[in-house]
């Protein structure tokens, strides 16, 4: 037990962005209050990968690590599209994922929004139906390849501001 507290003292608080400046802290604060206002404190995201390289998923997973701990702002990645406010889509839309993406989108209850993640910037291909915006109406785009966790947090705030 003593070892635990010693360690804890040495480590300090992890749930903060050690390198982040005041800007990030302000963004998170605003995001939390915006979510409280617009989504009654809980924003549910269903993530779908319709043809990514998997780095975008890795960054979304990173959002749950103790450095970012997105849940404390009221943001949850949910298992079912039926529980989601946002469909967060990464990657291009492949030929083979096209119908599955549309299915997932249909399952979201209204009101619903599509937010896209990253720009793969791959050459045209017969196996790709296009970027998401050619297939679904996109409310907001978060740029980057991949967008870093901080970019995603910033992007979500911009999204909420936009839909108000």
């Amino acid at each position: 037990m003593i070892r635990f507290w010693q360690k804890r003292f040495k480590e300090g608080l992890k749930t903060q962005n050690l390198w982040a400046d005041k800007e990030m802290a302000a963004i998170k604060k605003e995001l939390k209050s915006q979510i409280a206002k617009t989504f009654a404190g809980s924003l549910a995201i269903r993530m779908v990968d319709s043809g990514s390289c998997n780095a975008c998923e890795a960054e979304c997973n990173a959002l749950s690590n103790p450095y970012y701990d997105l849940e404390r702002l009221g943001i949850h990645f949910v298992a079912s599209p039926r529980h989601a406010d946002i469909l967060l889509v990464s990657g291009v839309v492949t030929f083979n994922m096209y119908h599955h993406l549309l299915d997932a989108y249909k399952q979201l209850p209204n009101p619903k929004w599509v937010v896209t993640l990253g720009e793969c910037a791959l050459p045209a291909s017969f196996a790709i139906k296009g970027p998401v915006e050619r297939i679904l109406s996109v409310a907001h785009h978060i740029p980057g390849c991949p967008p870093e966790p901080d970019d995603i947090i910033r992007g979500l705030l911009q999204f909420i501001r936009k839909i108000q």
Partner: protein, 453 residues
């Protein structure tokens, strides 16, 4: 002999099917008017997906193959062969043709389909279980939802342009892919990579391996219901991504491997290593003392050694089953303290422990790789020809093939380690219950993007 890959290419007057083994390469010409060839699947089961893919891509058939279903062409894919040179068109959805899944018939046996979209932040793919109550009788893995047509995309590009695509084949193996591609280009340019460049690249590759293993060291216990491990290890993984960003400007190393060794902040790397090693040792001690966790990991998802060999598996999956295969065993890595690691039980616990050991070994390798200075190896003109390269990514052996014709890419083929390992996943299922599937799957942690191309 270990089977590595079987793939095809089209020349002006014929097709060629290339069979790659660890000791030899066999090239068989195939008549364009009647493209048919004997199957390899009777000896090498891992050839199944390769042959089904060749059939979809080129229309080459395989005699006596016991599985001729389409692979990359899903239910609405039109009947075209996109890898043929005369294929230039755009395709449209064809009428839905149902895919016949592997079936086990019998009283009370039912099927469970999972995916392509999964309940979490995971890549898409389909798992089709035949169940007898809780017990898994059979699993069919069905992928290629993310099939982006990478191979065709590369054709016609200048060799150097290929980097931009290759680095996006599989994000968490990006550095490995770039290193493999750089090696192809160095061969084509007829140059030796500078020793400093090799060290810099190897250092990035070990950081990539650490980021990947650390993530898994958290996710595996998490799938067995032990969430604190995920919180702890995901922090270490985040530290690794941040260090990568600091030394090469990108958290996944996109664009970092181009034949240059960059000036890096070595003291930042040393600090990182010291902390990570200390935390990993703490983690090792902590995690081994949680009996309920090992109760889930031990004896779950066993891949016996003879099957690991028969199915041509690579990477952690092979190593944990006692097959000490590692492309870093090349006479160069050893001077930095590399020695191939392996385990014998082939269960989830073995794959988990091995990742931990590899992560610790990567720390040691990095500290020994730090001795290099800024330099670059210029790559300019590339000779026509056919080139092969192998790199040990965090998932296992990445194999790349490049054919340059008149200065342009004529054929590019990539075999992700996952392409063979996915085919062995079903062997780990019998005797386990469906609730253990996520755990077993995570312990192998395979790439969908790299597999689907």
């Amino acid at each position: 002999m270990r089977f590595i890959a079987r793939f095809a290419q089209e020349l002006s007057d014929r097709f060629e099917v290339i069979d790659l083994y660890d000791q030899k390469k066999i090239v068989t010409p195939v008549d364009k008017n009647d493209p048919i060839l004997p199957t390899l699947t009777r000896t090498y089961p891992a050839a199944i997906w390769f042959e089904r893919k060749i059939k979809d891509d080129f229309g080459i058939r395989f005699e006596k193959s016991f599985d001729t279903r389409p692979l990359v062409h899903h239910e609405r894919f039109p009947n075209v062969h996109p890898m043929r040179k005369d294929f230039k068109e755009k395709i449209d959805f064809a009428p839905f043709r149902p895919y016949p899944y592997e079936r086990i018939e019998g009283e009370g046996i039912f099927e469970v389909g999972v995916g392509p979209i999964h309940a979490g932040i995971i890549e898409p793919g389909h798992f089709h279980f035949s169940q007898e109550g809780e017990a898994i009788l059979h699993l069919e893995v069905r992928h290629f939802y993310k099939y982006r047509g990478i191979e065709k995309m590369m054709e016609g590009l200048e060799p150097l342009q290929g980097f931009g695509i290759v680095q996006k084949i599989s994000g968490n193996e990006s550095i490995a892919y770039q290193i493999a591609y750089l090696s192809l280009l160095a061969q084509a340019a007829g140059v030796e990579l500078d020793e400093n460049v090799r060290r810099f690249n190897a250092l990035l590759l070990e950081l990539e391996r650490l980021a990947h293993h650390l993530t898994d060291l958290g996710f595996i216990p998490n799938d067995a219901g032990f969430a604190p491990a995920l919180a702890f290890c995901s922090m270490l993984a985040e530290d690794t991504r941040r260090l990568l960003k600091k030394i090469c400007g990108h958290r996944f190393g996109f664009g970092a491997v181009r034949g240059e060794a960059l000036e890096i902040d070595k003291s930042a790397v040393r600090d990182y290593l010291e902390q990570t090693r200390e935390k990993l040792l703490f983690f090792q001690e902590w995690i081994t003392q949680i009996p309920s966790l090992w109760d889930r990991l031990d004896n779950t998802g066993i891949l016996p050694r003879h099957k690991a060999i028969k199915y041509s598996t690579v990477g952690i999956v092979a190593k944990a089953s006692g097959v000490a295969l590692d492309r870093r065993q090349d006479g160069w890595y050893e001077q930095f303290g590399f020695a191939p690691l392996s385990a014998s039980k082939g269960d989830v616990a073995a794959r988990f422990t091995l990742r931990l050991e590899e992560a610790l070994q990567s720390c040691e390798l990095i500290s020994n790789l730090l001795d290099f200075s800024k330099t670059d190896t210029p790559l300019e003109s590339f000779a026509d020809g056919e080139y092969l390269s192998f790199t040990e990514s965090s998932l296992g052996e990445v194999m790349l093939y490049l054919r340059i014709q008149e200065g342009k890419i004529d054929r590019f083929f990539a075999r992700d380690p996952s392409f063979v390992n996915w085919q062995a996943l079903h062997l780990m299922m019998p005797g386990n219950i469906i609730a253990d599937f996520p755990l077993i799957n995570k312990s192998c942690d395979l790439s969908y993007a790299g597999n689907d191309l």
